[in-house]
């Protein structure tokens, strides 16, 4: 199993006031640390129009990380692809791939915050089909010298990509949130699937649905790869780990998960600012795993047994993860 991580500093959390420029320095410093600790990949996310200055262009943050590192892979998690022209996104990815000597991975999501679609001029209701089409454009643009593409949203005739990326193609992951619907989309498209924080039982169901859809669409098993975004909080006792989780909920997740429509109910409708005992929010909180190092190893072994080949651990406890968790794998 590969271990991926992400840094802090790409936004000014309101509970933790700081300078954005200092935060950006921290993000680069943490990339260097993650590389030294043996993480396989380092990630940056994307959001727009946020009061906290959230990074809007993950490839740019990763360009800064690329300049300070030499081995660690650089992964977007997630880059909100329907908010880009896909060929422009491919050019940006190829540019970073060249700058970094071939270290880019693309985690591509569809986005969910209404103001982002309105601000950048994309109809939100088209995001699912746009994502699937745009992923195919990126794959072909980074793999082929010239390509044609005819879709509902995007059309290219004899298009080619410059610069030529080092990797042909650049590795792509479909960041699919926590729904079986998204898993079906990714499976039908035959794109490796990177699911968001989910309790183990839900993960098992989502992975099963993804593989079923992929096989039905005729994709070989080796193409149906799975990664998981997984928050873990490690303490000497569970209570200590839970207190660390509570800090993260207080300073970040409570606002970002409850406030902007991240949660989706059983009817597929976005839920805005539900009470904290809303079942979808409880499910999210439960997905943030708390335990001792041994318990975290045991939990991640379950994911590995499901065929999850990489976990993205955004935890600031990177040192502990490198020392106590990673040696138990591979």
């Amino acid at each position: 199993m590969e271990f991926w991580t992400g840094g802090t500093g790409l936004a000014r959390m309101r509970a933790m006031p700081s300078s954005l420029a200092d935060g950006y320095d921290t993000f680069v410093d943490e990339a260097v640390t993650a590389e030294k600790l043996g993480f396989a990949a380092y990630g940056a996310p994307e959001h727009h129009f946020m009061y906290d200055g959230f990074i809007p262009f993950p490839l740019e943050a990763l360009a800064a990380a690329a300049a300070a590192t030499s081995k660690i892979r650089l992964v977007t998690g997630a880059m909100l692809l329907p908010l880009y022209d896909p060929l422009d996104a491919a050019e940006a990815a190829a540019t970073l791939d060249v700058i970094s000597g071939g270290r880019v991975k693309l985690g591509l999501g569809m986005g969910y915050r209404p103001m982002e679609f309105d601000g950048l001029g994309t109809a939100k209701k088209t995001r699912g089909t746009r994502l699937v089409e745009a992923i195919e454009v990126l794959r072909r643009a980074t793999a082929e010298d010239t390509f044609d593409f005819e879709g509902k949203h995007y059309n290219y005739d004899g298009a080619s990509l410059s610069p030529t990326p080092v990797q042909r193609p650049i590795e792509i992951w479909f960041c699919g949130g926590t729904s079986e619907r998204a898993a079906r989309r990714a499976g039908e498209a035959g794109v490796p699937y990177w699911l968001a924080n989910s309790p183990y039982e839900a993960t098992e169901a989502i992975v099963e649905e993804y593989r079923r859809a992929g096989r039905e669409a005729g994709w070989p098993d080796e193409r149906l790869r799975v990664a998981a975004f997984k928050d873990v909080f490690i303490g000497n006792q569970i209570a200590e780990a839970e207190s660390l989780r509570q800090v993260m909920l207080d300073v970040f997740y409570e606002e970002h998960i409850l406030g902007y429509g991240y949660l989706v109910d059983d009817d597929g409708q976005h839920v805005y600012n539900p009470p904290k005992d809303h079942p979808m929010y409880r499910r999210f909180v439960d997905s943030l795993f708390c335990g001792t190092a041994e318990m975290v190893v045991e939990e991640l072994k379950r994911y590995e047994a499901l065929g999850v080949e990489a976990v993205f651990l955004p935890s600031p406890q990177r040192q502990l993860i490198a020392e106590k968790i990673m040696p138990e794998f591979n």
Partner: protein
Amino acid sequence: MRVGLSWDFDAAASGVSSFGLALGEAATAARLGYDSAWVRESRMGPASCPHPTLLLTALSRKDATVQLRSIREVVRANPVRLAEEIAVLDQFSRGRAGLVLASAGRQGRPPGQVHETADFVRSAWVEDEFRYRGNHVRFPAHTGDDAPSGTSTPEARGSAGGYAPQWEWGPAMPDYLTITPKPHNPRPPVYAEIDDDETLEWAATSGVSPFIAADVPTDEAVDRLVRYRKVADSAGRSRVEVEVVLERAIVAEADPGDDSALGGDATGIVATVRDLHAETGLGHLVWQRRGPGDGDLFRFAVDVYPLLQG
């Protein structure tokens, strides 16, 4: 007089080698006291650089001194993303970013689109909640024809407010949005290539700095910059608010071979640049590198650069 470097990636065969070369040269130039690095958006070959801001952001982590200038087109760029990218570069570099808008003619676009993009981006960097209605730019997308032309901001609501933080907006799409992050420097410099009369007039009257690219013959560059200065003076603009930039290839110790490059020995190059300064107000000479090992950065820094300063 400031002196910087730029690179022509369209002529290069390999992005890996040419990007690496540029990053290395820029770091060397910074140590030698050069002032700036300029990268043009390009898509003409296997080593082109369609996203110069990414290269400049990488450079910002290798050096802490040079100014970083991204030469961008408006054809493909979403103006919101353009404002965001430069702001992020400015934060990573702690205030060293700047934007050059490529000429409308090179892009096959109307000059008004370039002007509007510059206007929008400058608003994005300083305004909090705002909207924009132009012929080419609408922000947010649902902004209607009833909105005032250009930038507009919400009316004061008094202490009663009606304000709600954005995490309480729910699915609503507000009429005004704030583009973030803001740049480290509240107003990063903006330049425009002034190779059409409309853009020359607009830049001169709007406080936008003029940029002349390396392929424009020097005589024509002088003519345009003199006209720019006259228009700006007539409009009452202060000369200190803008920076006149001229990009040239430099052929040391030889005839330049074309009418858009500078050449000759150090004394000749110094004399030419000083004359250009006297005629046009030139404040920033950008040396366009034409390939690996093009010219000696050290010799220029020793023989030419000091003589441009006084």
